[in-house]
Symmetry: C2
Subunit: 338 residues, 2 copies
């Protein structure tokens, strides 16, 4: 009954819908090229909290509550939450969502979390196990730099290959109820290890995983780049984008005409000093919840592949000399004809 496609994909027979979405970001994102499209821009990076971690949780809570409200629902009508962040032990998610009191599946997919949460939310709704569920992901420049690199206060210099972690959160209500955006299917990624070890060059670590899942998506769906209005990766940045396009070219698919990267949309890299672009779980989540959904809704696009990309690393694995593996999850979104 459900269509299991090829090696890594599902095409939903009864597709779930993106009933609503919300993006909440901080000042820097608000000043970027997508500033006008975000639902809320919060000037205080602490969002009234005392620590970066609690601030990040507050961004997620806000995005979740706003998505629920925009769907015309109350939190009691949300059956499950699927959510995650970048921090050790999902600190932001646990603190951010606890007041919502939802049955909760905590996820970790690094910056691919928006794709992972939308995928599991879609399986749950399409399987008939819920009417409405929440999918959410967050990140914060303050908590992420402290977690993975240097505290902001240290003022370290960042190489040009480094990305800038997006502060904010995207929340989505995935639902049985029809809406203008249908989740036609998903292609779930594998852990891909190219032996990259540079945490200041995440794009290169993630590009092979994005290439693998996009390639398999084309194969599983028997579609090609020309069938998509856009294919958006999460946060490969300038460096990773080039690698992705080259890897797919070597495997017979030229996505250069339709490829975009959320990390390259969210900041004006030259004037905002963000180097290789935006990154973090929130990067793909808030770009989907603003620009990408907008272009689907207004009819500019009819079909896009949304591919958040994650670098699976920790301070410990880095210090122990392990490589940074990547993962990416693809979600196939279509404008519902009405």
């Amino acid at each position: 009954m459900k269509v299991i496609k090829g090696k890594q994909s599902i095409e939903f027979e009864k597709p779930p819908y993106l009933l609503s979405w919300a993006s909440v970001v901080a000042q820097k994102e608000g000043e970027g090229p997508l500033g006008d499209f975000f639902d809320q821009v919060i000037d205080d990076p602490f969002f009234g909290e005392k620590t970066w971690e609690m601030a990040e949780g507050r961004f997620m809570k806000q995005a979740a509550m706003l998505a629920i409200q925009k769907a015309g629902l109350t939190k009691n009508e949300i059956r499950y939450a699927f959510a995650g962040d970048l921090l050790e032990q999902n600190t932001a998610t646990s603190y951010g969502l606890k007041d919502l009191e939802l049955p909760m599946f905590g996820l970790f997919g690094a910056c691919s979390t928006a794709g992972e949460s939308l995928s599991l939310a879609s399986i749950t709704v399409a399987g008939g196990f819920a009417e409405h569920v929440l999918a959410a992901a967050s990140s914060h420049i303050g908590s992420a730099e402290k977690q993975f690199r240097f505290p902001l206060e240290y003022g370290n210099q960042r190489p040009l290959s480094a990305t800038w972690t997006v502060t904010g959160s995207g929340g989505f209500i995935v639902s049985k109820k029809k809406s203008p955006i249908k989740i036609r299917g998903i292609t779930t990624g594998k852990i891909v290890d190219y032996g990259m070890k540079d945490p200041m060059n995440m794009g290169a670590c993630m590009a092979p995983a994005a290439a693998q899942v996009i390639y398999q998506h084309f194969e599983d769906y028997s579609m090609a780049p020309k069938d998509y209005d856009a294919i958006y990766t999460g946060d490969l940045g300038e460096v990773g984008k080039d690698i992705l396009i080259r890897l797919l070219n070597e495997n017979g698919y030229d996505i250069s005409k339709v490829h975009g990267d959320c990390g390259l949309e969210i900041y004006e890299n030259e004037t905002q000093d963000t180097h290789s672009g935006g990154s973090g779980c929130a990067c793909s989540a808030v770009v989907l919840a603003s620009m990408l959904t907008r272009k689907l809704i207004n009819g500019e696009w009819k079909r896009i592949l949304f591919v958040p990309t994650g670098a699976l690393m920790s301070k410990t694995s880095f210090n122990e000399g392990e490589s940074v593996t990547g993962i990416a999850h693809a979600v196939l979104l279509e404008k519902e004809e009405t």
Copy 2:
């Protein structure tokens, strides 16, 4: 078609099955009361690796491969992996499972991960989206103490309320294919915050979450403690067990006759110096994959509720003075009548 029950539960119309399971543990667990029931006891706590984190990953890989083998399958027949561990950014899972090359959903539910992974695996199989999937969880005393408390080399004294992190991993194949153990349903937990702040007393932090999900399970299923042969929490230990029984008593359910705790089964606390009992993602996973499944298979039990319990904390949240919230996920397992 699918039966969504009450506030937090699903009863599967076409229940998935536990097709196979495998437990791989270290020497201390092998010397405990369940030693004879584990599939493999690995004497070297590093399992041939150079770090605790990679060792933990190796335990998970071994449990996963063994479960696949015991199911009579190859890894190419496994559609998805649902797995997680306790470490920052799921380090053990990412490194442990990468060689299996499975489409992968990384999870974080602290020590409730075995329940979370079995729940999502069940939804995916029962929804018709896969024939066989892997659910796995791991922990390691070396990596966990380093992550959350003190490196083992420091030799700190542990209070009597502290638990001992189980070294090992449990792997399960959840399948459409009939087997003697049916997953009748699940009850998914919420984040519960009682304001507890002591990372040396995790049982007290998790007991309220276990009480909430067990209470709601009874309500959703219109069942009572007498309807179960056993109700096993994950790792509440001596301290948490008392709190759980008291909390449920106050709410009208006396589970004292059927309650067991995986953390209280795995070690001989007095002679093995493990204080309040075992803990960690592996604790509930390996006890399910050994003693609990065994008693269902041999007919001693017909119905059990398996309730892994997690304490959602990180070094950072602890250092910042935040409380340790809890979560627990219940899985209803029944002997299939043949």
